[in-house]
């Protein structure tokens, strides 16, 4: 589904990703861990197409096409979804309107009919339950004045509505209380299908008790320095990152 090969990327003149290779197949869950500033969010943003990063080498293939050739909105329309580490506020635009616009754009791209506001509200009712969110949130401005945890939950709500093929969750667990963490993880698991895949970026093994990864990768200094199974996360939790980096 996704194949990243020797990817290099800069922010301005500063090299941040320094040769990343990663293959994700349908049905898989990959966890990416690693120290602060190692490039995890950068990788996520580059996959989503953030214009602030320049790809200086390597390639990303997604569903048999060159992902880097696509505009960010085309990537989203073709099923790439990034749950932002820092979700953005859009004052004055209701969550419901924003979500419906996104949903309709993605439907249009698939050649499907747009849905009207009433149909959409029906759909939302189910999705809200999935993340246990108060329907009143739909009528508030996108992320504006949301608490940290509410913003994260809102990202998962969007994911539930847009039903991506490839979801990248960038520290969605940070800032969530224990209950919210379980709700979010349950939501992610409920959306899991044999033909979609998930990449979770996290600092905490705790999340991986709920969203069980098939692979765990350690990103350090812009490179993947170690990959393993879910046990690797436990080992990292106990021993920290230093040993992996030393070994690399």
């Amino acid at each position: 589904m996704l194949s990243i090969s020797a990817l290099h990327a800069n922010a301005g003149d500063k090299p941040i990703l320094k040769g990343i290779s990663l293959t994700v197949n349908p049905g898989e869950v990959h966890a990416i861990m690693g120290p602060n500033g190692s490039g995890k969010s950068t990788l996520a943003q580059v996959i989503a197409g953030h214009p602030g990063y320049e790809v200086t080498g390597g390639s990303i293939t997604y569903m048999n096409q060159d992902l880097l050739e696509l505009d960010p909105e085309e990537r989203a329309q073709q099923g790439v979804f990034l749950a932002f580490q820092y979700p953005v506020e859009i004052p004055g635009v209701t969550n419901a309107y924003f979500l419906r616009s996104a949903y309709n754009e993605i439907r249009k791209a698939k050649g499907e009919e747009e849905v009207d506001p009433m149909e959409f509200l029906d759909l939302m009712e189910k999705k809200l339950k999935l993340v246990d969110m108060d329907p009143a949130m739909l009528h508030r401005s996108v992320n504006a004045g949301f608490s940290g945890g509410e913003k994260k939950r809102n990202e998962i709500l969007q994911m539930a509505v847009l039903e991506p093929k490839l979801a990248i969750l960038d520290e969605t667990d940070s800032g969530l209380d224990i209950d919210a963490l379980r709700i979010v993880a349950d939501g992610v698991n409920a959306l899991k299908r044999p033909d979609n895949a998930t990449i979770v970026v996290t600092h905490y093994q705790r999340l991986l008790n709920y969203i069980v990864p098939d692979f765990v990768h350690v990103l350090a200094g812009g490179k993947i320095v170690k990959s393993g199974g879910k046990e690797l996360a436990l080992e990292l939790e106990q021993r920290g990152y230093e040993w992996v980096m030393d070994a690399a």
């Binding site: 197409g49 602030g52 635009v93 616009s101 754009e105 847009l162």
Partner: protein, 477 residues
């Protein structure tokens, strides 16, 4: 602004076409004979000609104001034409007599004047250059005693009302452009809502400039008698031309005791091209007088014109009266706007609210200028002002000039202001959810303007939102 925000194809101004129509146009120039000629073309009574001439003499002693924060080449008032009317328009004609060519023009502008296809619940007065071509739904309005007609018609049919209220809110001596308008105004709309009547439909005037080198100088007068209510909307478009054209209108609102007037504007005059060639100079004086317990609300969405200079204001004359100003002003390319409001609190316990949203894109310059004045007797009065600016790109500008004068101890004002840049992050967030750049920008901007849009009559809120999207095209990529 950075990598992606810069290049989208500029969509053409949709309303830039010219109607080929035989017109009765007078020679360029301005003097007393021209004023007499305009007045005689309209068969005006002597008192009105006198008033025009007084205004003209006053105007000659005045100088063009240069305090607004806008730059333009000097206007040659002798080079402009002050009257142009389609030959086919007869004075006081009925709608059935309207020239098909004119009907077609309005249809192209999205306005149907033929009765069977009327916009539900809206009465329209269509002003083409210097004259009104027709007013719809008059019969329906007459049932409620509401008068809605062209200014010319009102002068003939309701002379007492015109004599009583013309210049009562904006005297001809008020300012340079108001004096000019008073001297040469050609047509406009008049509305009178009798005591206790709630006007059941939206009233609207559609202004169209067509002729070249002709200025448009319309006058609108709306009187809501005691306890009456009316909601009025004006829309404006003009052809694309490489020369600048002057639009100097005057609008007067009178809300008598317990009355309410809601006045909305969607201004989309031709803005000039991306290099700033051509476009309308929109120099307008709009003011309302609010008597006891009455309320006047101005809502404006200003997206067109090369230069906009206007300050819809409220004189809060009566105790407990309310004035509101909700504004969205957008400048793109080389457009300049200096707009805002004046709230003059005279009565006790008067209240005013100002919400201004300025959006600047391209090399546009947007200034908010507002005056809140509370006179010594206006005790217990309150004002709330919120003034937000949004910048798109980094070649544009936003400026605010708030003036506040409080001359008593028991009144309060509150002023909030913010300036933000439309964020690359906001745009990317929208894109990451499948929205393209244009869609993202118009979503973000309409969110920014929401408090103002919600004040527009429902039928026009969506139109205004789309207009904003179109006006911004090309500003972002």
């Amino acid at each position: 602004m950075g990598s992606s925000i810069e290049t989208l194809v500029n969509r053409e101004y949709q309303y830039g076409f010219v109607t080929e129509i035989e017109a009765d146009t007078i020679a360029p120039g301005l003097n007393e004979d021209v004023i007499r000629l305009i007045s005689s073309k309209k068969n005006e009574p002597e008192w009105l000609l006198d008033w025009r001439l007084k205004a003209f003499r006053r105007w000659q002693t005045m100088t063009e104001p240069h305090w607004p924060n806008v730059k333009y080449n000097p206007i040659n008032y002798q080079a402009a034409r002050y009257y142009s009317a389609p030959k086919s328009v007869k004075p006081l004609q009925s709608l059935d007599e309207v020239d098909p060519e004119l009907l077609a023009t309005y249809k192209k502008l999205g306005i149907s004047l033929t009765e069977q296809k009327l916009l539900a619940g809206v009465a329209v007065d269509a002003i083409f250059d210097s004259v009104s071509v027709g007013t719809t739904m008059k019969d329906e309005l007459a049932k409620h005693g509401v008068v809605f007609c062209s200014f010319t018609e009102a002068v003939h049919n309701y002379p007492e009302l015109i004599q009583k209220y013309l210049g009562s809110v904006v005297p001809y001596s008020d300012n340079f452009f108001a004096a000019l308008n008073s001297a040469v105004f050609s047509d406009g709309s008049f509305c009178y809502v009798p005591k206790g009547v709630r006007c059941p439909i939206e009233l609207s005037t559609y202004f169209r400039i067509n002729a070249a080198e002709t200025g448009q100088f319309e006058r609108t007068l709306i009187v809501a008698d005691e306890g009456a209510y009316v909601s009025y909307l004006e829309g404006c478009t003009a052809p694309k031309r490489s020369t600048n054209q002057l639009h100097a209108a005057v609008v007067e609102l009178v809300a008598l005791d317990n009355a309410q007037i809601k006045y909305s504007t969607v201004q989309n005059w031709y803005a000039g091209d991306k290099d700033g060639v051509g476009g309308i100079y929109n120099f307008v004086t709009k003011r309302g007088k609010a008597h006891t317990n009455s309320k006047i609300s101005w809502t404006q969405v200003e997206t067109g014109s090369a230069i906009t200079w206007k300050y819809p204001s409220v004189i809060l004359q009566g105790d407990n009266s309310t004035g509101e100003f909700y504004s969205v002003a957008l400048v793109n390319n080389k457009q300049q706007a200096d707009t805002g409001t004046k709230m003059i609190h005279i009565g006790k316990n008067t209240k005013s609210t100002i919400i201004s949203k300025g959006i600047s894109a391209g090399e546009g310059q947007n200034s908010y200028r507002g005056r809140v004045q509370m006179l010594p007797k206006a005790t217990g009065s309150r004002n709330y002002t919120q003034c937000d600016s949004m910048l798109i790109g980094n070649k544009c500008g936003a400026h605010t000039f708030p003036y506040i004068e409080i001359a008593n101890d028991s009144s309060t004002t509150e002023h909030e202001a913010s300036t933000s840049k439309i964020g690359e992050d906001q745009i990317f967030y929208c894109k990451a959810r499948g929205l393209n750049a244009e869609h993202a920008i118009s979503l973000i901007v309409s969110g920014f303007c929401r408090e103002v849009f919600k004040e527009l009559p429902m039928e026009f809120a969506l139109e205004a939102q789309q207009l904003l999207g179109i006006s911004l095209e090309g500003s972002v990529g």
